[in-house]
């Protein structure tokens, strides 16, 4: 019985199927809203679904210079790790799998898609992919530092005297003392987290690794057919996971009482977070250079996160 329950968690809710559906929905809303911001009609909301199925039906070409095994396994690793991350994120009141340090597990699992992209790009043997993976590595280093500081700040705020890395306790704390976004000392950390999300997903001002009109989509340049479909799906799934993590960390205090309504409110808050940090920045900015991105993250964003950390450490 317990095996069936865990299978349900992993395959349907909140694992693979829910993450895919919510990710594709968020990506569709994102493209539609960007189009309206640019005074266009824009593609239908189901466009990412069509893109995914079309890519499944395309021929898969494996370049002669590629390492066949690594080239084909990398997209699967990226997809599977993202299915697992969602199990650890509490959906307001509901939580599939709990643990003593699930924040650290999430931190590790979230880097795996980036690492898989690096492995896949390196295995394809294309010089464009070479430039792309070097940029992807720098981007990962840039956003990891602020993300770690933000999680430390939340852990200190919730734990009081000691650090608590358990998202269940974070959620329970917020249900009792109010969401963390209402604490003024946490607002710089929330802003920093909003700036980390677009770099993690790789959208407009921070898409240096996959610059399509400059280095032909970087690590993805040689991919076609179903491996490409899995990588594109991973990017869409990251949208719901990162905005969901934001919701769990800063809006975790909202409770409706039922799992279904909790889920609807969770997706609505995630959509609102996405509209602020992904869609708007995508519509109004141009791409940064990689050195500017690195500098921005290690000064402005890490600075904001540090301000919050210091405020929390002195007890505010």
């Amino acid at each position: 019985m317990i095996i069936l329950q865990y299978l349900f968690y992993i395959l349907i809710f909140p694992g693979a199927l829910f993450t895919i559906a919510a990710g594709l929905l968020l990506a569709g809303i994102d493209r539609k809203v960007i189009a309206h911001m640019q005074k266009r009609i824009g593609p239908p909301v189901a466009q990412p679904v069509y893109d995914f199925f079309k890519l499944l039906g395309k021929e898969t070409i494996i370049p002669a210079t590629a390492n066949r095994a690594a080239y084909l396994i990398a997209p699967v690793v990226s997809f599977v790790s993202l299915c697992i991350v969602m199990l650890f994120i509490p959906i307001l009141g509901f939580r599939a799998i709990g643990g003593a340090a699930d924040m650290i597990v999430i931190l590790y699992l979230i880097t795996i898609p980036g690492a898989a992209l690096i492995v896949g790009g390196a295995a394809s043997g294309s010089p464009f992919a070479g430039i792309g993976i070097s940029r992807e590595m720098v981007t990962m280093m840039a956003y990891e530092l602020p993300l770690v500081i933000i999680l430390l700040t939340v852990a200190k705020k919730v734990g009081g005297d000691m650090l608590i890395f358990d998202l269940g306790i974070v959620s329970a704390y917020q249900a009792q003392a109010g969401s963390l976004i209402t604490e003024w000392s946490m607002i710089p950390a929330a802003v920093a987290m909003l700036l980390v999300i677009p770099a993690e997903i790789g959208t407009q001002p921070f898409d240096v690794a996959e610059a399509e009109n400059e280095i032909c989509e970087g690590p993805l340049v040689e991919y076609s057919g179903s491996p490409l479909a899995l990588f594109k799906l991973s990017i869409n799934m990251k949208m719901i996971i990162m905005t969901g993590l934001f919701t769990a960390l800063f809006f975790g205090g909202i409770r409706t009482g039922f799992v279904i309504t909790d889920l609807i409110v969770f997706v609505l808050i995630s959509t609102a977070v996405m509209l602020v940090c992904i869609t708007t920045t995508h519509a109004i900015t141009a791409r940064l250079k990689i050195e500017h991105l690195f500098k921005f993250y290690w000064t402005v964003v890490a600075g904001l996160a540090l301000v919050s950390a210091v405020l929390v450490w002195i007890g505010l």
Partner: protein
């Protein structure tokens, strides 16, 4: 059911790859005009892809100069099936005013089957949009033939 969905999706998300084979840039500007807010090709799912590996429709403009011929053939070969080739402007169709020049080795249908050919010097964005839309319908037929 999944097979049906894949076949249906083939015409709904055609990604373009643009190849310039010595065009005067007139047709290229009109192709870009299709993607602007005024014509908005994205409402049919059209998107410019960065790599021929991601493309479904190859948009060729220009009269196939001797220098670009080998690159054109290689790019077409790199595109995964099902794919469509659309020629934009009179140059790839007939050679236009460059016909008979020593630097030209056209027309395009000498090298590859052209699915849709939009003539004009330069064609209007409306005409290019219609051509691309027809190519998307052909893409669905090709996908159905592939799945049998």
């Amino acid at each position: 059911m999944i097979k049906k969905m894949i076949n249906k999706s083939a015409s709904k998300s055609p990604w373009l790859f643009h190849i310039n084979t010595g065009s005067c840039n007139g047709c290229d500007i009109e192709i870009v005009a299709c993607l602007t807010p005024r014509y908005d090709a994205e409402r049919f799912g059209f998107k410019l892809a960065g790599s021929p590996r991601h493309a479904d429709i190859l948009v060729v403009s220009g009269p196939i100069t001797v220098q670009s011929r080998d690159r054109l053939i290689r790019t077409i070969e790199q595109t995964p099936d099902p794919k469509c080739v659309v020629s934009v402007g009179s140059c790839p169709k007939s050679g236009n005013v460059f016909k008979g020049s020593y630097g030209i080795d056209g027309p395009l249908d000498k090298y590859v089957h052209v699915d849709v050919s939009v003539a004009g010097c330069t064609p209007k964005p409306e005409a290019i949009m219609e051509g691309l839309y027809k190519a998307a319908q052909i893409l669905e037929k090709k996908r159905e033939a592939m799945s049998k």
